[in-house]
Amino acid sequence: MAPRAFQPSTIAIWLFLLPGIVVYGGVVLTPLIGGFYYSLFETKNFQFHWAGLANYVRLWGDGDFWFTLRNNFIIILLSVIFQVTTAFIIAVLMNSRLVIAPKFLRTAIFFPVILSPVVTSFVWILVFDINSGLLNNTLEAIGLGGLQQKWLDDPKIVIYSVTVALVWQYIGLFLVIFLSGLSAINQETIEAAEVDGASTFQKTIYVIFPQLASTWSVAIVLAISGGLKIFEHIFVMTGGGPGLSSTVVAQYAYSQSFLRANFSYGNTIAIAIVVLSLTLVSLTIWAFNRFVVKDRI
């Protein structure tokens, strides 16, 4: 039997849990439940009428919703490929003896993370400007004027342009995540691989990558959840345009709720984002546990 001194009363346990439950309940659960509740109504003239699952039926057939979701998936995919992977490679390089001034680099790469999305978006607007932007000017200067693009006005490339800004801003976040993951693995295993005859690439693939599997799953989960809730950058850079071409699902929910005064449908989209987010995150974690980390005790 456990000593009485270490066995607080049930009331005390619940009282100490109360602040957390109240905050979580108030900040997360209440809006979520409320959002779901309102998604079951139809909004018209600032009034709510019971509609059952009609909003979800509409959502299922709403091509605009699926199009904006497709944009989110493009962002997530490119984030995982270019943001997470690049951060991993930089982290590995900074952990090796190949990089000079790693502390300065780390700070420099992390710096954009602390900037407001609005600020970085304006910076990128200047980069992407058709006539006087850094990108088109540079292309012209190095004789690649033929590659100049209407970066934010061409519906075929605008989603990739805004993704560049996103990747640039948050690469430092993933870098720090990977650096902390790297600091937790035994450096001697990397040296052992070196002595065992592994090239830098082989060390990275066979020794560092598997030991960072759980860090990878964290990074990918963050990339997925971040990619699904992305909003400000695109809102500032393009307003979601031209047309729907750079609109993401969060902005679609926003415009339904606040620009089109259709709160119920906005809530329906928000609930769909939550469900999708939870599903994708769970799938990622499951896949990592099943296929990557399964053999580690």
Binding site: N186, E188, T189, E191, A192, A193, E194, V195, D196, G197, A198, S199, Q202, Y206, V207, P210, Q211, A213, D295, R296, I297
Partner: protein, 356 residues
Amino acid sequence: MAQLQLSEVRKSFGAVDVIKGVDIDVRDGEFVVLVGPSGCGKSTLLRMIAGLETVTSGSIRIGEREVKNLRAKERDIAMVFQSYALYPHMTVARNMGFALKLQGIPKDEIAKRVNDAAAILNLTDYLERYPKQLSGGQRQRVAMGRAIVRNPRVFLFDEPLSNLDAKLRVQMRAEIKQLHQRLGNTIIYVTHDQIEAMTMADKIVILSGGAVEQVGSPLELYDRPRNTFVAGFIGSPAMNLLEGRIGAGGMIELAGGGTLPLPVDVASPPKGGVIVGIRPEHMLLGGAGQGDLPLRIDVLEPTGSETHVMGKAGSVEVVAVVRDRLSERPGETLHLSVDPKHVHLFDAASGLRIAE
């Protein structure tokens, strides 16, 4: 002829010199232990041999090849790390076969060599386990197995036993030595533990402050320490080092009181101050030897087979190990003497052994 030769090897981090010109020759199949207090540069030196640290100047040759500028993988060496550095995500078999896999050796060949090594190391039953499922000693053996399968020209061990408990350490010490006798590879072994050095080495290199103090076989170092550092470092309990000067009648008068005989074969006794070294186990009770060292007993530690006596000669701490069982009690004074052939004499100013 897998010979390892270090000539004038130096290493600096900025203005700080950590290895100050080291020369070591290792014969094929020799078991060489680099030993010294922490911070003496022994691990750095080993990592330089391994190719994990750059060499500031000097030359490192393995066989006929200058390897100073080669990468670790090109040096044909294997290394056992202090933390074992097993790959946590690989089974024992894959850990051991990793280097072979990187060399592109066929799978069945890898399996054969891994199984052979596992048999030598009693790891056959554990090949499909992960490192976390193994005990410390087993992990240690896997780390060695990883080195063995490659059959490299030189094995490097970096304090491989320091994470084991005392009993296991003694056992692994014997296993490593047996392994060396069986395989006959050249081994460079780093430790801070002089007992490991004494028990395992064919040749010991004593390092201090990034420089070699003395190179020799364990018994050479024990019998003829080149200076007071080596004298104090080798042997346990450590050698008593007492200040004194040569007095009249060919005896050494100790600064703390008492007299000791000159070593038998000192050709010309120096005029100035000396340091006399007597190993505790060479102290004799009463007048069995020559001289007279009065020792006021502080502590008596009977171990059964012998008795450790800790006390003070004047104000100097002195340790003696005697075969006899003593009836004296702390506070009483014991008179010790010594056989002249066991007296070491060092110059007080330079700390160097006075030539015989």
